[in-house]
């Protein structure tokens, strides 16, 4: 399996899609996460992402390996930002090519669900009246 895994200040959805596109696979599924302009009716000014990069890369590689094993994924790209992001900007881009489209959908959803659970990345949400680390408290 060919894989592109990266954490960077800027990521490009088109690069993720171009990486997985090939003449051998017929279907590509992608998930793109962007910054929402509000959380529970409160206006969001920006998000700041922080990550434990070497471990985050290892955990992203584990996700890619699982995708290959469970769904015979042919090519996968998992890109995540770090640093400051404004509403509308792309935060995460996952692109998956698999022989069958059902497998590509399942593998892509597994990737984003698992990334949120296991990859050591944190985001702080900035509002007009302060900031919070998302999901830190029950």
């Amino acid at each position: 399996m060919e894989q592109l895994i990266r954490i960077a200040e800027h990521i490009d959805t088109a690069e993720a899609i171009a990486f997985v596109q090939s003449e051998k696979s017929g279907g590509i599924v992608t998930f793109i996460g962007t910054v929402r302009n509000q959380t529970q009716q409160k206006k969001v000014l920006k998000l700041v992402f922080e990550c434990y990069e070497p471990m985050a890369i290892l955990e992203m590689e584990k996700i890619a390996a699982q995708m290959q094993e469970k769904w015979q994924v042919q090519r996968v790209a998992i890109l995540h930002v770090t640093g400051e992001k404004l509403p509308g900007e792309v935060v995460v881009a996952i692109a998956v090519a698999a022989p069958h489209r059902g497998a590509a959908f399942e593998a892509c959803q597994y990737a984003i669900d698992t990334l949120k659970e296991t990859v050591p990345i944190w985001k702080q949400e900035f509002f007009e009246d302060g900031a919070v680390w998302v999901a830190a408290h029950p």
Binding site: K116, P120, A135, H137
Partner: protein, 77 residues
């Protein structure tokens, strides 16, 4: 023992790393020590410990050359 801090843990400790003098043989001992020294940790949804860039169970033995990181609740994606 020196541990890496991320996200809300940096705010709680007010530092990027923490040097611990106490004798903490296992991951479970480190978690208990954190909750005692920094009561705000008890209010977090969960705290995990990574040893050499892998999530570690409470029974895991810590040794001086390990890379140890405190992992507060994740919010990537």
């Amino acid at each position: 023992m020196r541990v890496l801090l991320f996200g809300i843990m940096k705010d709680i400790v007010a530092a990027k790393t923490l040097t611990i003098e106490a004798e903490l043989p296992t991951v479970g001992d480190l978690k208990r020590w954190l909750k005692q020294e920094y009561p705000a940790v008890q209010n977090l949804k969960a705290v995990m410990i990574a040893v050499n860039k892998t999530y570690a169970a409470d029974e895991t033995i810590l040794s001086p050359e390990d890379e140890i990181a405190i992992i507060p609740p994740l919010s990537g994606g």
